[in-house]
Symmetry: C2
Subunit: 246 residues, 2 copies
Amino acid sequence: MVTRADPASAEPVAEHCFECLNRERTEWCVLTHDDVDLLDRAKVQRVYQAGQVLFDQGDPADAIYDMQDGMVGLRRTDEGGHTVLVALIHARQTLGYRDFFADSPRHTTAEVLRPSTICTVNGETMHRLLVKNPALGLQFLRRIARDLDTAEEMLLHQTVLPVRARLAHLLLTLRIRYGQAAEDGSIALRLPLRRQDLADLLGTRPETVTRAFQALARDRVIRVRGRRVIILDLDSLLDEIEPHAV
Amino acid sequence: MVTRADPASAEPVAEHCFECLNRERTEWCVLTHDDVDLLDRAKVQRVYQAGQVLFDQGDPADAIYDMQDGMVGLRRTDEGGHTVLVALIHARQTLGYRDFFADSPRHTTAEVLRPSTICTVNGETMHRLLVKNPALGLQFLRRIARDLDTAEEMLLHQTVLPVRARLAHLLLTLRIRYGQAAEDGSIALRLPLRRQDLADLLGTRPETVTRAFQALARDRVIRVRGRRVIILDLDSLLDEIEPHAV
DNA sequence: CGGGGGTTTGAGTCCGTTCAAAATACGTGG
DNA sequence: CCACGTATTTTGAACGGACTCAAACCCCCG
């Protein structure tokens, strides 16, 4: 059941932006002490449960969000109700800036996929920061430019690669965050998503995801049991994406 | 035959940025008189023939381009040689800014599809303008944010719509620029692209494009003869994209 | 121990691809 | 202005990957 996120259903948490924003090389790294103070006073941090919605397609884009922890999916739906997950957002990543900067209503729905802690930064504060510190705009410019690159890659993959290869690619991505290397070279991971969400991410159906898993398992590239996956041969998983001519 | 664009193969043309840049609501509209002067002295305008390449996947992204006239396609190719056209660029549009701002090598190839007049703005000038006028960065931020929106829409369409619907959508887009309305409500257009390029744009094969044309023609939505298309019923063309539940 | 969501399996179908050949349009030079 | 060669477009038939629908299965949780 998807519930609407509002103050009543998500509990605020107190914490300072300091540690989380500047430590890593995020868009926020260009902020001065002063800027962070401003942000600190304006941001609202909350805990969300899986299934809650940060914002919905059609909503005005008057805030951006910064993930402390958890996972959020950006879902795009057409009038016919067809849907794809266009992106996964993890800890330390910012989301919701796209439509904010495009000055348009939300074109995606942000759906909390796993329990998450997220800061909301209202639009007024963003505008103030952008004026105060022009470098911040250029940081987001770079961020979005890379998002566009990713989106084009997805489009290319969707067009020219079969589901099996797209799944291989996805596993290679998830491995970084959720993988646990064993000493025999294999990598164990527990998938953070159910088949339906994997299907939405791959642009296919849950049944097809299952069959693609089985195809990879049959060829000893991986081993699968439900959400538990073991990557047996990383190299051949890489080969799935670009079958080098033999 | 695709030839490399270089000063030898493309003839420079003298003209002022003034008229072309500021008249319409492009990213450049925020430039001051002074800025335009700077741009004017730095830009190089050339005429390109169909088939020439402005930049290639892998090249350093050290310039951006502004179309005076013509048509350019952005093509993305994977290691296996599979290719898609991710965008068409027309007169008065800017291109090549994505990788420039992402500070990465070119991820697409810019291919001149019809004879074009194009201004090159070198990176140094861009950097100078961005410092001089921070609003320019925000303009491009908005531009790329909208490109990302378009890319996501293409991804969604590619995933959930059949070729026929995607072709309908493309015709509706091309109609704006190349359509000629008749007084009986029909719209005539001569396609600026061959079947292969339409296929690359739709993520399919030339043969399938032909068959999709025929399917639409069979249902009296359009009439086709080679590159000459007549849209008979605009409404049902719109319905192709979103088949409203009956 | 009995739900109940999530996952797997199977069979049939469809859309789009592939490969090959025929037909047509187009540009160039005679 | 026509003839010719080449590129493009169309047509056909066979194949295949992914979808649909439906039923069975399997955990996981209460």
